[in-house]
Amino acid sequence: MANVLVFIDNPGDALKKSTLELLTLGRSLGETAVAVNGDLHQDVSATLAEYGVTAVFRPSAQDLDDYLVSAKAAYLAAAAGAAGAGTVLLDNSPEGKEIAARLGIRLNAGVITDVVAVDADGTAHKSVLAGSYTTSARATTAISVLTVKANNVMPEPASVASAPETSTVEVPADGTATAARVTAREQKAASGRPDLSDARIVVAGGRGVDGDFGPLEQLADALGAAVGASRAATDAGWISHDAQVGQTGKTVSPQLYISAGISGAIQQKAGMQTAKVIVAVNKDAESPIFEIADFGIIGDLFDVLPQATEEIKKRKG
């Protein structure tokens, strides 16, 4: 089986679920090595062994985070060489995709983004045109670079733990020579809710929210959901632009999408039509969202959502 390299950027104290998914997927494709950037905590090393990782690579330089993308791409290209990788897996974040982009050119490798599943022969599956089609694609090159969406693989440790060797990979100088430099970075306050792109449940609001996302946030907290919004709501300044779902925002693919006060114009639908179950609450019975909702309520979200929130709390005790 071909060798697989998984990129893990700044793992921190514990590996994220999406990283465990990549390691599980990697093992189904071959012998899996990882390239880590940043500190390697003891617990993280232990998890890598549980997941059957055969080799761990670390960069010779500590300052990859000071540059935008290209330094990490250069490091990863060198690590792919050291691992003899036929497949490189990265997460599907905007940064993951960009590292993949530059890595593809460095390795003369085809890049496929937004992957939801990979067959043993390397065929990758994804959906395109905002969920209108599901496609199968493959790289025609010796190496393929895939960025994989979260929540599509069940993380599973290996049947037999491994004892990976750690080695250092020299970061090529050209990765930083012309790179853009990060001169300041501020952390944003954490909302305590799951990330919109990876959330299992999304509660999204639009024009009908009329400036008050309170009922949506309370329902989201009762469900352990992320809060999303239509462009009308973010443009009105009612909620941060990060929350925007749709053609020019984030495409989400949750188990459950609750749309409240959103008419369902096509760009909004485009961002969420791969959700497994869609619930819509809207006062206007003519809203296009009702054409695609599995469960639609013609009613006032300020009545329906708080009632649902209370009922969920009651049932969960």
Binding site: V69, S70, G110, T141, V182, K188, L223, I266, G299
Partner: protein, 266 residues
């Protein structure tokens, strides 16, 4: 300044979009200038205007790669205020993936930079058809330039640019030297509409047509033949159908929770 803005002719997302023919390429009937590219064009126009505009020798060149219809994206850009247009078109380009597209665009940009070098390449954050957002980074890698992607603000001072990027958990400020490749988000500005004067003026502006031979690219390196990925199957998602619709009679919130419980989503 000499700024190139990449503009793409994409199917209008207001309508159903289709894959067609060999290699499942996108059907480009009903296409328009990609909405996300208008922000890049606006950013270029503002940079040029702040430096005295076309009179002071600032150039904003709209570059589009694609079949005959793609020239419409260039024309719209000229109406908005771009000073010239370039249409890279060649039958061998059909079916190019991001890697092949970036190869052809890099060659076109080098060609346009003959004589007076290009200072800045501006793009949207993604196309609204392929949506991979791979091309800006691949272009930067091929041209050996710094890339600044997803810029939500952009200033240029002398030979340096400063941009702000907003991610979900952090915001950052980045700096790079020119020339550079920059992609911008839809938060950077409010694109202008072409006005009557702009539409009339656009008729007098020139559009240069380039072929692969003009930019020295081997047809075998682009299109389906030169792409590093291939689509092997495509299945249209069945349209979603409406489910149960109820009108709130004072208990819809409870019925909603009943529905979620039945779907095992609680």
């Amino acid at each position: 300044m000499k700024i190139i803005v990449l503009v793409k002719h994409v199917p209008d997302a207001q309508f159903d979009r289709h894959l067609t023919g060999e290699g499942y390429t996108t059907d480009r009937d009903e296409s328009i200038l990609s909405e996300l590219d208008e922000y890049a064009l606006e950013a270029a126009l503002q940079l040029a205007e702040a430096r005295g505009g076309a009179k002071a020798g600032n150039q904003v060149i709209a570059l589009s790669m694609g079949a005959s219809g793609a020239v419409n994206a260039v024309k719209k850009s000229l109406q908005m205020g771009a000073t010239e247009g370039v249409h890279l078109t060649d039958s061998a380009l059909a079916g190019s993936d991001a890697a092949a597209t970036s190869l052809a665009l890099a060659a076109a940009i080098r060609h346009i930079g003959t004589g007076a070098p290009v200072d800045l390449v501006l793009t949207g954050m993604a196309s609204t058809d392929g949506e991979t957002s791979l091309v800006p980074a691949q272009l930067a890698e091929r041209l050996g330039l710094p890339q600044v992607t997803f810029a939500s603000s952009l200033t240029v001072d002398g030979g340096r640019l400063t941009a702000r990027r907003d991610a979900d958990t952090y915001s950052e400020t980045v700096e790079a030297t020119l020339p550079a490749v920059v992609s911008v988000t839809d938060q950077i500005n409010e694109p202008r509409y072409p006005n009557f004067k702009g539409i009339i003026a656009a008729k007098r502006k020139s559009i240069t047509t380039l072929s692969l031979a003009d930019i020295g690219v081997d047809p075998a390196h682009v299109g389906h033949a030169g792409s590093w990925t291939t689509v092997t199957a495509a299945v249209e998602r069945p349209p979603r159908t409406a489910g149960t619709i109820i009108t709130d009679e004072g208990d819809a919130g409870i019925k909603l929770v009943d529905f979620l419980a039945a779907q095992k989503l609680l």
